[in-house]
Amino acid sequence: MSELNYVGRRLPKVDARDKVTGRAVYINDLKRPGMLHGKILYSAHPHAIVKSIDVSRARALPGVRAVLTGQDIPEMPIGFLQDNRPLKKDRVRTCRDEIAAVAAVDQETAAEALELIRVEYEPLPAVFTPEEALAEGAPLIHEYDAKGKPITSNKLKLPWKLICGDVEEGRGRSRHVAQGTYRTTWINHCCLGTSGVIAEFDLDRNLTMYSITQIPYLAQNDYLAALKAMGLGRSRVRVVCQTIGGGFGSKLDTHCYEFIAILLAQATGKPVKIQFNREEEFLAQATRQPVVMEVSQGCDHNGRLAFRDVHMLLDNGGYTSWGATTPSVMMVPISSLYRVPNVRYVADCVYTNNLYAQAMRGYGNPQATFGIESNLDQLALEAGIDPVEFRLINANQGGDVTPQRFVVKTCGLPECIEKVRDGLGWPEHRKAREEGRNRDGHKVRGQGVASLIHVGGGARVYRSDGHGMIMKLDDFGQLKVFTGAVEIGQGNETVLRQVAAEAVGLCIEDVQVVSHDTDICPWDVGTHASRAAFISGNAAIQCAAELRRKIFELAAAQLEVGPDDLDLRQGMVVVARGAEAEGQRLAVTEKGESIPLSKVLRRGHFSPQGRMIIAETFYDPPNEMLDKEFKGNLSCSWAFGASGVEVEVDLQTGQVRILKYLAAHDVGRALNPMLLEGQIYGGSMMGVGMALSEEVKLERGRPVNGNFLDYKLLTAKDRVPITPIIVETDDPAGPYGAKGVGEPGCVPSAPAIANAIFDAVGVRISELPITPERVLRALREKKEDYCRIARPAC
C-alpha cells in the first residue's frame, strides 16, 4: 500500500472545538420560535385499568395549549411488535406508561397542568419476573396481539432458536462439563444529555423533527406511518439531528415521547419540545435487556470444546422494543466465540409489568458473553486446564467458518489473549497464588480473562445494511462528503474525513463532512452495530473512486493526456511521469508536473457547456441476513478481543478493586488510534460499570434509584487503569483494513472481572452487578459450606 497521509493518524475530533467551547448545540439547547413545552403524565400503577381521566382542570389552566389522552389520539401502534402506542388508552401495563400529555407555554405551566389531571385506576395483579409471568394463573399482560388475535401466554411468539450440530452427541462425548445460571439486570444508558425532541409542522403539514436519533431514516419511516394514522398521509418528514449527548443504542428505536411531541404539535399548530429530566430518563428510557441464562459447556480430555447449550429467559417488560431482538446478536458469541462444534440456544421473551428494554452497546452480547465466559472458567477448572491455555486451545482462527456460518477471514483472538496474558503477568501471578503470595492481610488478588467476538463489518439485521454517500467538489477544490451516518460522539465524522481525504487524494483541511439531515444526506440504515466507520469508510472509498474517475476525465481533456496518466495527491492533479502532455502542457510544466485540482475544477465549470464534479454511491456490504435457521454470514468481518483483569478483593468489606485492566482488540486497522482508544476506554468502563455497580433497581416495576446518587456510575475517582492494546489484522473487507470497534470494549468486562474474583477468593458470582454485598454473601456461604462439609463442628 502506498504511504498514507491521514489514515492511522491520531487526529483530534472535528467537533471537539465546538464542544470544548460550549458552542455545540444539543437538543437541550435548541429553541424554535413560538415553541411550546410538552410534558408527559406517567402511570401511577404497574398494571391497572384506567377507569377515567379528567383533564378539564388542566385544560383550563392559563398557558396550557393542549392536553391529550389515549382517547384523543388515533390508533397508531408502535414498537417492534406494534404492541405499544404513544398514549395508552384504557389499560396501563408498566409504571412508565404514558397516559396523558400537555403542551404549554413553558415547562412550569406544563408541569402544573399534569398535577391537575385526575386519573382513576383499578389496579390489576401484576408480575415482576419472567418466572412469575409464566406461572399458571398469572395475569395476561396483553390479551390481543397487533393483529387482534387473542394471546394466551405472556411468552412472546418469537422464534429464537439456534441449533448447530448435535448438542447431545457433544455432551455424550464430553469428558468434563460445567453448568451454571447467570443473571444480568436493567442498565440505563445514562447518556449525559437527556432525551428530547422538537416536532414542528409547516403550513403544508410537513413535519420537521429536531432530533437526536441514531437512525434518522428508519425514524423517518416510523414518523411517516404515524402521520398516516393521523390522517396526514401526504405529509413529508425531515429529520434534523442535533449534537447528540450520548447514544449507546438508546436512540435506535423511535420512542413514545417522540410521537407524543408530534401529536401535540399537530394539536397546537406550534413547534413542541419534549425534554426529559434525569428522573424521566431513568423511568421512561428503555434499558439494557436483562436476562437469566442457563449455560452448560463440555470439553474432551484435550480441552477441546464439544458443545455449548444455552437457555435464556428475557424479561421483556410491558411492551416490545429492540430488547426482544437482542437474542439475534447474543447468538454471535453463543455460536462462535471459540471453536465449538455443537451449539444449542433457545431464548424466550416474557411480558412482565417491568420497564421494557432496547438496544444498548453490544446488543445483548455483553450479557451472553458474561454467561459463556464465566462458565468457561468453571469448565477449565473442571478440566484442570489453565484458563488462558484453555482459551488458546479453543480460540478461533482466521479461515474458520463457524457453526452459524460466519466466515472469519482474519482473527486476532489468539494474539489478543496472549498479549493480555503477558500484560497481566499471568504466569507470575499463578506462581504467587500457589505460594499464597497473592494475599495481603484481608486483601486477596486474583486475575481473570475473557474474550469476545462481535460484528465488525456491518450487520445485515435489516434487508439493507447500506449507506448512501455523495461527494461534491466546489470551485475551490473543497470537498463536501454527505453521509447518512450520525455522530454520537464516537468520532465517525473525523474518521470519515480522514478516509475521504485519503481515498480522494485531498488535504484533510479541504474535506468537510455533512450529516444529520435527511433532506440533504443520502440514506443510511443507522448508526448501530459498530458499523459507521466500517460502512461509511467503505462507501467513501467507493465514492472516491467514482469522483477521481470524473476528475481525471475532466483534467485529461484539459491537459490532453489520458485519464490513466493522472493521479490526485494532496489536492494536486499529477501527471504521471512519462506521459506526454500536449496543448495545456505549459500550465502543467510551469508547476512541475502538477496542477491544483481547484484550477481544473474552475476550468471545467467556467467553460462552454461546463460541468461540475459530483459523485454518489450506495455501499451495501457483502454480508448476509440470517436465514430461517439463523445461519449466514451476518457481518463481512468479525471483531475479536480479550480483556484481562487483576482485582483485589477485600474479604472484610467485599469491595472489589481493579488493579489492572488490559483490553486487547483486533480492530483490523486503527484508522485513528486516539479515537479508537477512546472507544476502548469508554467501552471498557461501561463494561466495568455493568460488572460492578450499575443497576436500575425496580420495586414493583418502578425505578427506586433513578438518580446519580443512587445509580452508581463510575467516576474519575474509581480509577480503573485501562490499558488498550491494539491488534491489527488488516481485514480485506474493511476500509484500509479496519473493523468496527464501537461496541466490543464493554463485551468481556463482566466475565473477566467475575473470573478474577473467583481466582482471588474462590467464589463464583453469577449475578450482576457484583456488589460488595453479593461478594460478602458469597464468601459467607462458601465458609458455611466449608464448615458444614469439612468441619461440622466449626
Binding site: V20, L192, F248, R278, N707, F708, A716
Partner: protein
C-alpha cells in the same frame, strides 16, 4: 420575590432580575443564553452544569441565582478568547481525545480549571478528586485525566 443583582460574568459586569427559587443554571442558560452550561441532572449529581464562582467550581443547578450577587462567575463561554483562541485546557482536551459526545466537557474543563488555578502542579490523585463530581459516560475518564495533566505542563 424578584430582585436585581449585579455580578461579573465572564469578565463583564452584568445585572439581572432574579427570582427567589431561580438557580444560577436557569439564569445563565435562559437569561444570558450561555448554553455551554449543561443540565445533566438538575440535582447537583453529575457536574455538567459546573461553573466557577469566585474561583471555586460548583454546580449551578443547585446554586441560587441570588447568591451570585457581587461575585465573579465564569462559564465555558468565558474561556476562549473572542478570536477563538482556546484556553490551554480546552486545547489539551481537543488534542488528547478527551471529548466524545461533549456533554460533560464544559463541566470537566471548568472543574479542571478551578483546580489548576489553585494548584498548578496537581498529582493524578488530586486531578481525579477534583473531577470526581463530573460524570462522563463516554470516555472512561482516562483521556480527560491525560488532558488535564498535559495542560498542567506535565507530560502524561
Amino acid at each position: 420575590m424578584k430582585r436585581t443583582i449585579e455580578f461579573e460574568l465572564n469578565g463583564q459586569l452584568v445585572s439581572a432580575e432574579v427570582g427567589g427559587g431561580q438557580t444560577l443554571l436557569e439564569l445563565l442558560r435562559q437569561r444570558f443564553e450561555l448554553t455551554g452550561v449543561k443540565e445533566g441532572c438538575g440535582a447537583g449529581e453529575c457536574g455538567a452544569c459546573t461553573v466557577i464562582v469566585d474561583g471555586r467550581a460548583l454546580t449551578a443547578c443547585i446554586y441560587p441565582a441570588m447568591e451570585a450577587e457581587g461575585r465573579s462567575v465564569t462559564t465555558i463561554e468565558g474561556l476562549a478568547t473572542a478570536e477563538g483562541a482556546l484556553h490551554p485546557l480546552q486545547s489539551a482536551f481537543v488534542e488528547h481525545g478527551a471529548v466524545q459526545c461533549g456533554f460533560c466537557t464544559p463541566g470537566n474543563v471548568l472543574s479542571a480549571k478551578a483546580l489548576l488555578d489553585q494548584n498548578p502542579d496537581p498529582s493524578e490523585d488530586e486531578i481525579r478528586t477534583a473531577l470526581e463530581g463530573n460524570l462522563c459516560r463516554c470516555t472512561g475518564y482516562q483521556q480527560i485525566i491525560e488532558a488535564v495533566k498535559a495542560a498542567a505542563g506535565r507530560k502524561p
